[in-house]
């Protein structure tokens, strides 16, 4: 991917990151739609022999053999038995029964995490530059689990099973399955086993935002990644016949209509369908759109599909307007016809013009790539949001990372829109989703793992979380594009990742399997349910007090019931243990919480560490007044010895 290495400070801080030899010992496993091995992102030039502990394989199948692997792409497997059991034999004329990626998504995520550096990358000239994965020297192993008909948990579990046996160090999974208890969720179950083996599991948070309680992959042994924007944009303006210029974005490249105003029509007025405004297939009347620019509303069908519908009906161009569901978030697409996407407010302005002018006209002006856009990052509207619906005491997502308009490797099987009618073929494509932010964190975790091979997955995640930032350089809070207001820990978790800072966090909140078993006991799981998650007979000690608030998590989520106490106030205690991974020092605590309803106290107020790996515990007491349902308060707890700042977000909610 281009730009994100600079945006994340990887280029500027290159000296801080581990030597290439240690990174090349780290293996990133990616569960996805497979891989396009011919992508330049999997060039192995300069890489030495595969790590000696590697046990994986490059499996044979449709248009794929062991010769497609190399010293970069060291493993490629596919898992289709569960899929075929449900949907019948794979039609090899439409999808490859092999690790080969016919979709593009898997090639994109794998190359984002650990793709080699490729000079001169771009999508039709957009986002041009040197594309690289986050961990350019790490090895890649792909596990194809998603097919045209979906991703089935029996296949996913089989892939995780193999990845653990193959000895991957990081597992990247940009997929999810809604919200089910951990013992029913194959990703959570497999991730538990992986974490126990020292594998960091990074998962996408989901694209169901901005609705609250919309997160996937919320198990505390998973690193859950939301999405933010970069400081890059692809402006394409709509110039209206009344002289107004409206901002939009587009990745269209081709013949446009420079300086030529065209008739402009609202799709809802060019269709007999009740949902004609959505530009669904076969809903536009060709006589009413031919040669015109058509305004379509976003929603229901794919954005690029709407462009194809307009084109098929004879339209000359398209303006795609967000609705309330997307607000002002602009996602650029490589449309098949001149087209641009505009926000809801802009869409309303355009509609007002369309409905008031008897002969509306417009043109679209494509401006290419712009960088240095501020503010950035902003939380993407689509990024799924907390609270955590399974365990409200665990704050999710953990962090956000770049996930909007990300360029990375693509499959040679299909065009950048993914439409069957798109005959264009590209080496790189620009797409958006928490699927794209997840592999950023996977690759960064690989870098951290190389720098600190002894750290547990929880310690690596803690480093990423406690060093994440929540403010821009000017001190303003990171914005949420969905609301236009400052984002909260339910949107961004601990904040936006800062990999250079994560290399040296000072202190970490560590966790091991015993902690997670205690967590399952605190959930009142039965022995059978614990066995399903943790693969062992484990009996919770009836004499021991298990508390969800004592899981040593690097963040604080405080769910309160509005009718929790007759006295009107509730007292909750959270205990945490910090491990020193830096120099000796005395850390002092500070609490920032803008709430009259909650008082926070921390004991002790300072912690002195004299040795590496020394552990010190503290307790946080939240004393909360009764508040109306849906009230929220946010803040953070910081420990600092003057050099390092170890920050944990606080999210308090009354339901």
């Amino acid at each position: 991917t281009t730009r994100t290495p600079e945006f994340l400070g990887l280029e500027k801080s290159a000296d801080l990151f581990p030597e290439s030899d240690s990174v090349s010992e780290v293996i990133v496993g990616v569960l996805d739609t497979g891989v396009w091995p011919e992508s330049k992102s999997f060039d192995h030039t300069g890489l030495g022999p595969v790590p000696s502990n590697w046990r994986g394989e490059c499996e044979f199948g449709t248009n794929f053999s062991s010769s497609n692997c190399n010293r970069k792409l060291i493993g490629a497997r596919y898992f289709s038995r569960g899929y075929e059991a449900v949907l019948g034999p794979i039609d090899e004329s439409t999808e490859s029964k092999s690790p080969r990626d016919d979709d593009g998504h898997g090639t994109h995520t794998a190359s984002t995490a650990a793709g080699s550096a490729v000079s001169g990358a771009s999508l039709f000239g957009y986002a041009s530059g040197k594309a690289r994965g986050m961990a350019t020297r790490a090895r890649v192993a792909v596990y194809k689990v998603c097919w045209i008909g979906g991703c089935f948990s029996s296949d996913i579990l089989a892939a995780i099973d193999k990845a653990i046996g193959d000895n991957v160090n990081v597992l990247s999974m940009s997929l999810g399955g809604g919200t089910s208890d951990y013992y029913r969720d194959s990703v959570a179950i497999g991730a538990f086993a992986a974490a126990e083996k020292g594998i960091l599991v990074s998962c996408s948070a989901g694209n169901a935002g901005p609705s609250p309680y919309s997160l996937s992959n919320v198990a505390p042994w998973i690193t859950t990644v939301g999405a933010g924007t970069l400081d890059r944009d692809f402006p394409a303006y709509v110039s209206l016949g009344n002289g107004l210029n409206i901002s939009g974005v587009s990745l269209y490249r081709g013949d446009a209509f420079p300086n030529k105003m065209l008739p402009f029509v609202y799709a809802g007025n060019a269709s007999n369908a009740t949902n004609g405004n959505l530009c669904m297939i076969d809903t536009l009347i060709p006589e009413k759109v031919s040669g015109k620019i058509v305004l379509c509303d976003r929603g229901v069908s794919a954005r690029v599909q709407k462009g194809a519908v307009v084109k098929a009906a004879g339209g000359a161009g398209m303006v795609l307007a967000n609705t309330a569901a997307n607000g002002e978030e602009l996602v650029a697409d490589a449309h098949l016809l001149p087209a641009t996407a505009v926000g809801q407010k802009s869409g309303d302005v355009i509609k007002s013009y369309l409905f008031s002018d008897p002969n509306p006209t417009a043109t679209i002006l494509f401006e290419g790539t712009k960088v240095g856009i501020e503010p950035s990052p902003v939380v993407a509207a689509f990024s799924s949001r907390g609270p955590n619906s399974i365990t409200p005491e665990i704050l999710k997502p953990d962090v956000i990372a770049p996930g909007v308009n990300i360029i990375a490797g693509w499959s040679g099987s299909l065009g950048p829109t993914g439409l069957s009618t798109d005959m264009r073929r590209v080496g790189f494509n620009i797409i958006s989703g928490t699927s794209m932010s997840c592999p950023h964190v996977s690759g960064l975790a690989a870098l951290l793992k190389a720098a600190h091979p002894q750290w547990s997955p929880a310690a690596l995640r803690s480093a990423l979380m406690t060093t994440a930032y929540t403010q821009y350089k000017n001190g303003q809070s990171i914005q949420d594009v969905a609301s236009g207001r400052p984002s909260t820990p339910f949107d961004h978790g601990a904040g936006h990742v800062d990999p250079a800072a994560a290399l040296n966090p000072g202190l970490v909140y560590d966790l091991d399997v015993a902690d997670y078993l205690g967590f399952l006991c605190a959930l009142n799981y039965t022995s059978a349910q614990i066995n399903m998650v943790a693969r062992r007979n484990f009996t919770c000690d009836p004499a021991k007090k298990y508390s969800l608030t004592d899981l040593n998590y690097p963040s604080f989520s405080v769910p309160l019931q509005t009718a929790q106490s007759d006295s009107g106030s509730t007292v909750l205690k959270y205990s945490r243990t910090l491990t020193n991974v830096g120099s000796p020092g005395t850390y002092k605590v500070s609490v920032n919480l803008k709430s009259e309803a909650v008082k926070v106290s921390v004991e002790p107020k300072s912690l002195s560490f004299s040795e590496l790996n020394e552990k010190k515990s503290y307790t946080v007491t939240f004393t909360a007044n009764l508040m109306p349902s849906n009230t929220v308060s946010f803040g953070h707890i910081e420990w600092s010895e003057g050099t390092h700042v170890v920050r944990s977000p606080i999210a308090i909610s009354w339901t």
Partner: protein, 83 residues
């Protein structure tokens, strides 16, 4: 709604309860499965992620399997989607 309609289940096994007569957990899984269904086959056997296997069963067969010794749970598989 057909009673014969099969779906995929993920079966969690208590590995510690494997009878001594089996020297291989896969044979135990297969034997357990065959005791409730002549036609069902192992889709996958899992070693590292869980102790167990996946298979296609009718709801009745799944219920019978769940009552056998050594079976921790028999849960229908879920469908996931890319993000």
């Amino acid at each position: 709604s057909s009673p014969e309609k099969k779906r995929t289940y993920i079966v969690h096994m208590a590995k510690s309860q494997m009878p001594a007569s089996f020297d291989d957990h896969t044979r135990w899984y297969d034997s357990s499965l065959k005791s409730v269904s002549d036609s069902a086959e192992l889709l996958y056997t899992y070693t590292n992620a869980i102790h167990g296997f996946s298979t296609r069963l009718t709801p009745e067969e799944a219920e019978l399997l769940g009552n056998l010794p050594g079976i921790v749970s028999v849960l229908p598989e879920l469908k996931y989607e890319l993000h």
